[in-house]
Amino acid sequence: MRAFILAVMAILWKDVILELRTRDIVVTALVFALLVIVVFNFAISPTPQTVAFVAPGILWIAFVFGGVLGLNRSMALEKESGGLYALMLTPVGRDLLFFGKMLGNFLFMLLVEVAVFPVFAVLYNFSLMMPGLIPVAALATLGVATVGTLFAALAANTRSREVMLPLLFFPVVAPAIVAAVEASTTVIQGGGAFDRWIPFLIAFDALFLVVCPVAFQFVVEE
């Protein structure tokens, strides 16, 4: 267990240091997410009657599409530097490599969400204090990062990875996005999402946290 934690933390440390220096992943995802929110704000001119229904969808489009850009960049950096090969030379299980990369992606996506949400709240006239959104965002982001890390590794081996990742990723992650939008709508309308959508997101995460590390080893080995 100690070896597991040390290896995963080493990969996370490396990804955080690289991101602090290059800002490739977070800035790309953040700018895209902010653009989506601003563009939708002008496009639909939200009214108090409609905003509670459309805003959660806009929020998750911004998070997930921004996240895809970040995921693509994260694995492309590994591929371009040869880092993925270097990681594969280490005596660490491929599942640990997966968890290390996934944890970094999860952290970066959460950072983007934390930065985007205040802008979203101001533009769409919501309260900043919505603690019910925290578990929804954490669970949905975990699912997106888990599936996304696997498919980003798969897409990185193809020539058209920017196109390939969304094509592979969205059909699989769609249930988690739907659950996140529904749960966010319930929370924004003052209800609780814990009876239905939170358990669904937990089940989604649990399934893919088992499947994706196993599939990862077949993806990264030639």
């Binding site: 490396k14 240091i17 530097s81 880092g83 270097a86 030379l89 280490t90 005596p91 660490v92």
Partner: protein
């Protein structure tokens, strides 16, 4: 060639084959390296040297055949074998955004190296990069990146070194340091398999020489300049076309 497990062999390769689409890179290749021995694999471009190194390093899976390192099959004991080997490939396999020291610290942590700072200082001094550890890898010269790559491979004190053209891009001083590492008298049991284009250097650094041609070992013998030169002229030049698309 049947593998004789009673022998004290560091690297045993038997009937190794690998194809990329229709291009057959390795065809039933067999070779052995004993502990304490240095084997240089010579070969022309496209003869399969890099594929051999990538297969030994478990970066690519063979289509057929078996690789044993220290008696352990790479197919079934990947983690243990990776702990045994240090690998230098064509690409430096470093993170450009990290400094040399950070790169070594990261890989040291992945290998579970103890007293890591002390070990980094020792390896860096051995390969002549002690004064470059605070510089980002991406801004180092090609030769310095190559040295850092060699330091990464040595960091966990591997019992076997597998190197793909390690002398490429190194200056004279670094070549001498590399020769000293290969001939390391403090580690007499270390096995080394290296590939190179440079026949003279390959002969000078090794105990045995093999010539790879058409995905097979066409010649293997003691590190003798005249015999190797004659064999190289015979096998590594006129059979290059065999490795092209079938």
């Amino acid at each position: 060639m049947a593998i004789d497990s009673s022998q004290n062999l560091a690297i045993q390769v038997s009937d190794l084959s690998k194809a990329y689409g229709r291009a057959q890179a390795l065809r039933g290749l067999c070779l052995e390296v004993r502990w304490g021995q240095t084997l240089t694999v010579l070969g022309a471009n496209g003869s399969g040297k890099t594929t051999l190194v990538k297969t030994l390093a478990m970066l690519t899976k063979p289509d057929a055949g078996e690789v044993l390192i220290g008696g352990l099959s790479t197919r079934h004991n990947g983690k243990r074998v990776r702990r045994t080997i240090g690998v230098v490939t064509h690409e430096p396999l470093l993170y450009d955004g990290l400094t040399g020291g950070e790169n070594l610290r990261f890989f040291g942590r992945m290998f579970g190296v103890e007293r890591i700072d002390e070990r980094i200082r020792s390896v860096a001094a051995q390969i002549g990069i002690a004064d470059r550890l605070d510089i980002r890898a991406g801004t180092l010269s090609h030769g310095m990146r190559r040295r850092l790559s060699i330091a990464r491979a040595l960091l966990h004190s591997p019992r076997a070194l597998i190197m793909d053209e390690p002398e490429s891009g190194l200056d004279q001083e670094a070549l001498e340091l590399l020769a000293a590492i290969i001939a390391d008298k403090t580690n007499p049991e270390r096995a080394v398999l290296m590939t190179t284009h440079n026949m003279e250097r390959g002969i000078a650094l090794s105990d045995r020489v093999a010539i790879l041609s058409g995905g097979r070992i066409a010649y293997e013998g003691a590190s003798d300049a005249d015999a190797t030169r004659a064999a190289y002229l015979r096998y590594a030049t006129h059979r290059q076309s065999e490795t092209a698309l079938l």
